[in-house]
Amino acid sequence: MTKNDCVLCHRPVNFSIGLIDLMLPVKINEPTCCDRCCRRFELINQKQACPDCGRKMKKRELCHDCVKWNSQSSLDFKNSACFVYNDEMKKFMQQYKFAGDYQLAKVFRAQFMKKIKKSKIDLIVPIPIDADTMVTRGFNQVVGLTTGQHLTSALEVRADIHKARQSSKNRRSRMETVQPFRLVNPELVANKRVLILDDVYTTGRTIRHAAALMYEAGASEVQGNTLAR
């Protein structure tokens, strides 16, 4: 593979450096994936998204899932997402997470980081994975999507509960999942604005469990940011 092959379809990427790129003292980012592949992922415009979970909507209004959430719990939690979790994104996640092609993360790394930097927060906490997965996969898929700076590993997966993969369950059994996480040192979170990172927001169960823990430990505000919704 040469340097300029698309990491997704392995076809060469055509990109041109304009005069402005040469004149300005800015680093030129070589694209990691070709236009054709990029177009398959659907960006979410924040003006046309659910304010609570970040799902793509016709206009800025609560989606039916979030209406349900609000009637069930009083957790003040807002999530935003970059991309729609469409078939192409599912395929990407399959390849990245389950096949373990770590290098694919660089397709979205820049975009994901840009979004994180915009948020006004004190602590960035990625959703952890359990020890067994860490051994077989070799990386945390959420940490992989970031450049790894400023992250605080405040959460860890509880070892005492048996955990099946969320993606292998149906909606009903996902919603019945018990708190899978534990705080490593709760005083770290107290009176902080916390941003929780995850790869995909599907039912919201996982990330809301994490958010609830943060509030229990005294966080002043908890937001979420996911790559896909």
């Binding site: 390849q95 373990g100 092609d101 770590y102 290098q103 070799g138 940490v143």
Partner: protein
């Protein structure tokens, strides 16, 4: 899992149960990847990448090239057991096929047998529709009788699926397995394997005889890892036979330097030459397509075929163009059923079946129908043959769809192209070359008959 499942295989240490790893004797354990300077090399597929392009956190590296078969990384090892050739002896005939070979085929068949017996590396250049599979039977008959382990591999699943029943029919007393990514039946240790070339990555010094069909097809021709896999899947002194109708540059180079033997079969089984390619240049076909027009000569030829009741295939370079061409032809040919097909088409198999059963007069297609399909008595048109998607091998294969049956051994192959691209010229040259060889053979035969 038994130790027999590891004979001649190479599996990742994560794929083998730890119990077997501890108890079994005679296992070889090799590291799955090796690091050399700034590069890491995968020991399964042989691909080398700079460390920066294949790093996992924590100083571990992995191979992205063969990741579909389970991720190879520097922390893992490859487990294999040497091939003992423990197969049952035959009480009755190995070959249960009672067809006949033509005299040219018989000659080639003899060549193949000697290649197997002397464990050589060899290329059989046989034109499209020459009857390659039947020519393998004699050699395979010998190899199986000797208790050797054999495999026939092809880059394409469709080809494997087509070959498998033919081998089962021809070797009824042999246990044969079919391995490919879309086949769920588990691996079992047996003497005869039909598989995709990707599956060869899981074998290590297993086969005494390895045959690779359609070496020029995607992805084998473009992927050096698969050639590496093929060389390692056979035993060090094993025989390797490549079959193709359109050898690529690298194979031809190996022949020139004498590393690879070659035999030709320049005539089809019915003894006719290949149909030659006719080219029509229409520099503006792309522009015309945008204006919803097709070259007049193409429309003329299509109408002519419909009038004469000759069926045909129309190839276009890209999926997007299928729809455009379909719409234009809809206006031009009212009342005609116009069907298009491409690789990701859900009704692909049904549509090809419709063409087989004479339900439609023609089919507009992308390169997916370039090989492995036979429609009797068709002509072939290619719009935009100079596009990059048509490699010279693909063009020769497309031309090879014509005249495959004895009742209409000739036919027309017409290319519409913006200009003569390298691939188009190369394809014309290749067909001319084999036809010249075929003509010599025909002359020899007619003089020996006298």
């Amino acid at each position: 899992m038994k130790i027999a499942d590891l004979y001649g295989r190479q599996l990742l240490s994560t794929e083998v149960p730890t119990e077997l790893l501890q108890t079994a004797k005679g296992l070889t354990v090799r590291s799955a990847m090796k690091a050399e300077g700034n590069w890491v090399i995968c020991n399964r597929c042989g691909s080398a990448r700079p460390k920066s392009a294949c790093a996992l956190p924590g100083g571990v590296y992995y191979c992205a090239e063969c990741i579909q078969l389970g991720r190879v990384s520097t922390t893992l090892s490859l487990i294999s057991a040497s091939e003992p050739n423990k197969f049952k002896k035959y009480d009755n005939d190995v070959l249960t096929w009672d067809g006949n070979l033509s005299d040219i085929q018989a000659q080639c068949s003899k060549n193949i047998l000697t290649v197997f017996q002397q464990r050589k590396q060899h290329l059989l250049w046989a034109v499209t529709g020459a009857g390659k599979t039947e020519m393998l039977f004699e050699g395979l008959d010998w190899a199986l009788g000797q208790g050797l382990r054999v495999a026939v591999a092809s880059p394409r699943i469709d080809v494997c699926n087509e070959l498998f029943p033919r081998f089962v029919e021809a070797f009824k007393n042999t246990e044969i397995q079919l391995l490919h990514g879309r086949n769920d039946s588990p691996y079992k240790y047996c003497q005869f394997t039909v598989c995709t070339t990707h599956q060869l990555l899981r074998f290590y010094e297993a086969f005494d005889v390895l045959i690779i069909d359609e070496v020029d097809a995607f992805p084998f021709a473009q992927n050096e890892g698969l050639l590496y896999a093929a060389k390692h899947a056979k035993k060090r002194e094993g025989a390797l036979l490549f079959l193709t109708a359109t050898p690529g540059e690298s194979l031809l180079k190996q022949i020139k330097t004498g590393r690879l033997g070659i035999s030709y079969l320049p005539l089809r089984y019915h003894g006719h030459l290949l149909p030659t390619i006719k080219c029509k240049t229409t520099p503006s076909w792309k522009l015309k397509l945008k204006k919803e027009k097709l070259p007049n000569s193409l429309i003329f030829q299509i109408k002519l075929r419909l009038k004469k009741k000759i069926r045909f295939l129309l190839f276009v370079p890209h999926v997007e163009q299928l729809k455009q061409v379909q719409q234009i032809l809809h206006k031009q040919l009212p009342g005609e059923k116009i069907v298009t097909v491409h690789a990701a088409d859900e009704k692909r198999i049904e549509k090809v079946q419709m063409m087989r059963q004479n339900e439609i007069n023609f089919l507009i297609t992308t390169t997916i129908l370039e090989r492995g399909v036979t429609f009797p008595g068709i002509d072939v048109f290619v719009l935009g043959a100079d596009d990059d998607v048509f490699s010279s091998a693909a063009l020769v294969q497309i031309a090879g769809r014509v005249g495959r049956k004895i009742d209409r051994p000739t036919g027309d192959v017409i290319f519409w192209c913006g200009g003569y691209s390298k691939n188009v010229l190369e394809a014309i040259k290749q067909i001319r070359y084999v036809n010249r060889k075929g003509l010599i053979l025909l002359k020899q035969r007619s003089t020996s008959d006298d």
